[in-house]
Symmetry: none
Subunit: 203 residues, 4 copies
């Protein structure tokens, strides 16, 4: 099989990462074993170590993948909208609806949450998260708010960073709540907060 295309390599890596996603989501990074990933990805142990030098690297690359894919999707989604408020609606909705990514949203979410926790204890992970996350999340929201101000739709007095933080805190927290209490009517919770949020920033 050797002398294999770059394409093949990328596919194999993705196959491993998707297997790892399920494992890490189900059991958590520490508890999930390489053998679990072997089982879920269908890739042999040796092959996994051809693509990743150590378990942690799988974790990091998986986080990058998840973040990048959701980032791309948000960007795509926002491009199609004009009004800032539509965009804000869209942001609120984004994180909580199934989307067409090949990555399972629930799995991605829990892995992302755990990665964030891990990062708070590990300087190396933190650096990665800092680079990825800030761009991928904080900046997007700030950008939407800034555009809204420029378009005269949003009050210019508001501190965009603070409102972006409010938004992200709410979303992150909602993820957690959803994990814990799957039965709560999250749609309604989102809608109420959405209104509240928009009301606070609307001109």
């Amino acid at each position: 099989m050797p002398i294999v295309s770059e394409e093949h390599k990328r596919k194999k890596k993705r196959q491993i990462l998707i297997g790892a996603l399920t494992c890490f989501a189900k059991k958590g990074y520490e508890v999930a074993t390489i053998d679990d990933i072997v089982r879920y990805s269908g890739v042999s142990k040796g092959a996994i170590y051809n693509y990743f030098k150590k378990k942690e690297d799988i974790y990091v690359e998986l986080f990058n993948l998840i973040t990048k894919e959701s980032f791309d999707q948000i960007i795509e989604q926002l491009k199609r909208l004009n009004s800032s408020f539509d965009k804000i609606h869209s942001l609120f909705d984004f994180y909580l609806e199934e989307n067409p990514s090949s990555l399972n949203l629930n799995e991605s979410t829990i892995v992302q949450l755990e990665f964030q926790l891990s990062s708070s204890r590990n300087a190396d992970l933190m650096k990665i998260l800092d680079g990825m996350y800030k761009k991928a999340n904080l900046e997007i929201v700030i950008q939407v708010l800034v555009e809204g101000i420029q378009a005269g739709e949003i009050k210019k007095e508001i501190n965009t960073e603070i409102y972006a933080e409010i938004f992200l805190s709410f979303i992150d927290g909602l993820y957690l709540q959803k994990l814990l209490f799957p039965d709560i009517p999250f749609k309604d919770v989102i809608n109420e907060q959405k209104l509240s949020f928009i009301h606070s920033i609307k001109k």
Copy 2:
């Protein structure tokens, strides 16, 4: 008749739990070892196993302890206040300020977050969390809102559960954000969201 007093036992258990709190906060439940707890608590390994049957039991009891102490404190704090809005202010502030508990707040917070994540993967933990957490958090907020409605300070149309969820999601998320970006002006973020929140429910 026990050979050592119940009092002594309780003290020893607490000593272990406080050591464990630091360990779990610093490294996470899976990575922290019993030997770490030995080091941090000053209690020998054998003794630890006299008080707890397994590592997980330490985790569960620690979570109970943290939850109970913060619960007691909140209740205490709320009792001293009359207006519903004062209580809501107080709730917002509670989680983010140092408080007089013997338990370190930052440590408690990260352990609680991790426990919640663990719960979402482990039915046994989930049952414990379900019992504790709902009471200790959701119900408190709902209770404050209900009292506010009865006192005529808060709109009676609002769905108290939804607003309690909004509150908790925001707080949980803020915890995470704080772990990740310790430099952000959280006081301001809280104040803005506080205003937003109160505005939405005020009569």
Copy 3:
């Protein structure tokens, strides 16, 4: 069993080292496994790691032990002799006769040879060997020669370091030859070289 005497600990360590000696001698450091050492020492895997942080540490401590024991024995043996030539005879004989140490001489020899080879490839090992070996071997021989000069038995023109090197090279090489060709009459080889050596340095 805990709260155990230092004596007990030293014994256990020695038990492990003696097991390791056999394993390393039989298979070589790289090929011998921790499980081999478990089998030969009768000490469980976990216990071994209570006494040694890693496999290499066993190797190093074993080398130290072998070196120290043979050093002590040589010193003891030399102390009982007066004439320099008796001492030189004794040195030649020392390495090739069974001695009363609890350590098997053949095993010790091959482990020492391998350790020397390893050292030439590993700076850390080299440092250890440099400290131990030089003192333990080169210095002893030089000392005997210097005393012989002072006593007027040995020519004062000779370079003691060079003759010590000749002696050690011969002995080291003889070890190797003995491993390879156990049937050769080593006693005779030693005797001839002994005469030759003494002749060269005798006043």
Copy 4:
């Protein structure tokens, strides 16, 4: 008829062996990996396994190669000399000077030493070494001594085998010492031993 010429095969094999020589010298047989050999030889892993059935075979053939080349060189060198003492001088000098072989002497030396150690633990290797080494080394020295006796230059009472052993022990040991203490003035050590040796056998 073979698809590639025997000549090509021999060249490729030699290329692999020379790469392996560097690897085994640098890291030792056990620690050096096939991938190391791939890197150093520039021959792909699959190709290596076309020419050698297993790693050990590379080791054995490498040892054969080294031994044969040095054997040929010594023979060549000795042929040009007449006096037995010149030959003995030449033998002493041979092992410690750079020579025109394509094989690096230092690398060859350490690989040879390690191979000898390995042999003492492995009957298969021992058989190979027994065949090669005895011819290549012991016999050469004996032959020179015998010729010296016949030529009336060397005492006829000496046991040639014993003196050959003395010579080889000294050389082997000197190799080891050189690895361990590269700074020692080996030229002087050799010269002294040379004189000693010749003095003992001279008529």
